[in-house]
């Protein structure tokens, strides 16, 4: 081996050992710097993506209307276009009203956030939202939607945050089955794709009276998630030698999710938490 290659190898090993032995705090600090440096690019990319997708939709609509124009009168088409536009506005209005209603009616302080990037890594089920430490987002804060629990914040940077979804194995939630005294731990399953996610509710009694269709809620234990937030619906239950295990279909449609709400810490707990 050439001397310069040997020196490079030794330096590489030393550098790798340095990286592998960093503390959690140092890693978080490195990640924060990294996310702060790319957040502008990611945000701009998300805006560009939205504009591009709106443009494509616009083009598709234009072609559709053009085809109809050949068949119908110009005035009728104009009216139809207006109606379509109004419907779009109505849908958007309904969606925003629902979000606003959730924000107003939630028994805790929440902040709305938009998903700007979906599943950026190969194995973890995560999304990036456009809210960060500047807006009061902190590590482990619960992320909700009107349908139910979405996940928890993993790494907040200044302007953006990474959220671990409920479908990830890493996001464990203390859960109860509605109408039964059964408590368990709900988590995602390793290696499964996010297209049709199924969650696993473990540590139930082996002779639990659980049937398909029963709803699963958070217990509020574990100091992570608020109680009585809908998690999903039981699809099947299997009794094991020690514990029972149920498969749960999540309440939230993660593929269609656009706006989420992050539950902020009460001001009294904020200082203590920090």
């Amino acid at each position: 081996m050439k001397p310069q290659n040997l020196i490079a190898l030794l330096l590489f090993i030393a550098g790798a050992a340095w990286a592998l032995t960093r503390s959690e705090q140092t890693v978080r600090s490195i990640q924060k710097t990294y996310y702060n440096s790319i957040s502008y690019v990611v945000k701009s990319g998300s805006t560009f993506e939205t504009t591009a997708s709106e443009f494509v939709k616009e083009v598709e609509h234009s072609e559709e209307w053009k085809a109809r124009y050949n068949l119908a009168k110009e005035e009728l088409d104009k009216k139809r276009m207006e109606v379509a536009h109004l419907r779009k506005l109505e849908e958007e209005n309904a969606r925003l009203s629902q979000a606003l209603k959730f924000q107003k009616e939630a028994p805790f302080d929440v902040i709305a956030a938009k998903i700007i990037r979906r599943q950026p890594s190969t194995w973890w089920h995560t999304v990036t939202i456009n809210r960060g430490e500047k807006q009061g987002i902190g590590v482990q804060l619960p992320v909700l939607s009107p349908e139910g629990l979405v996940g928890k914040v993993d790494a907040p940077s200044e302007d953006t945050s990474t959220v671990i979804l409920l479908t990830d194995e890493k996001c464990k939630v203390s859960a109860k089955v509605d109408g039964t005294p059964e408590l368990g731990i709900l988590s995602g399953q390793r290696g499964l794709t996010g297209q049709d996610p199924v969650l696993k509710l473990s540590f139930l009694s082996k002779d639990a009276k659980i049937s398909a269709g029963m709803r699963v809620f958070t217990t509020g234990k574990g100091k992570l998630f608020p109680p009585d937030i809908l998690l999903g619906t039981v699809t099947s239950f299997e009794s094991g030698p020690l514990y029972g295990e149920a498969l749960v279909k999540p309440a939230v449609d993660f593929a269609a999710l656009q706006t989420v709400f992050v539950k902020l810490l009460p001001h009294s707990l904020e200082e203590e938490y920090r």
């Binding site: 290659n5 790798a16 990286a19 959690e24 990294y34 599943q119 464990k172 499964l192 297209q195 574990g222």
Partner: protein
């Protein structure tokens, strides 16, 4: 040489930014094009050993900064079994191993057989993802290997490999701009007899 190395490092950083906008394809079991590993693999075959290690360190560091999850759990009384994450820095080692694999066929690449390197980049990405999945199983216990995980690894490698000729073409253009020769033997005639 130095100009070429700097341009390759810049290309790697650009690939890191581009990676942010390459989504997982739901219909293909969440497969995606891994442009950063691909640029590293294509670069690894064109540079010397020391530069390959520098690139492996840079790419692994960026990759882990992007993907490392926190180790925080919850109340230990409720969350008795904490789910471990892969520690920061493991990708540096995996990138170096992929780079070594690519360096192994450098003599063939220098003879002009870039298509073999292209094929090997797909194999290297398959091995990288497979090792990563095995590591996850190792740190979390309870070995599971669902078919969807295999499809994701396989389709990601295949998709990424399809883009390797483009990356090689960019590398050749960069080399040409920097007046650096990365492919020698296939382009020169050698005397068969020693004078």
């Amino acid at each position: 040489m130095i100009k070429y190395i700097i341009s390759v490092i810049l290309l790697t950083l650009a690939a890191c930014l581009l990676q942010q906008f390459l989504p997982a394809i739901g219909g293909l079991h969440g497969a995606r094009v891994l442009i950063l590993p691909l640029v590293f693999l294509c670069a690894a075959v064109t540079v010397d050993f020391a530069t390959m290690l520098v690139l492996a360190y840079l790419c692994g560091f960026l990759w882990d900064s992007q993907h490392t999850l926190g180790s925080h759990g919850g109340d230990p009384e409720i969350y008795k079994e904490q789910i471990e994450s892969l520690s920061f820095g493991y990708s540096i080692i995996l990138y170096a191993m992929m780079g070594l694999l690519m360096q192994g066929i450098q003599p063939l690449f220098r003879k002009g057989k870039w298509h073999l390197s292209s094929l090997l980049s797909g194999i290297a990405i398959f091995l990288y993802l497979f090792s990563e999945y095995l590591l996850i199983n190792f740190v979390r216990g309870d070995f599971t290997f669902p078919a969807t995980a295999f499809y994701r690894i396989y389709l990601t490698s295949a998709l990424t490999m399809l883009f390797s000729p483009i990356v090689f073409w960019i590398m050749f253009q960069l080399a040409s701009l920097c007046q650096h020769t990365i492919r020698y033997d296939g382009l020169t005639r050698r005397s068969r007899y020693i004078d």
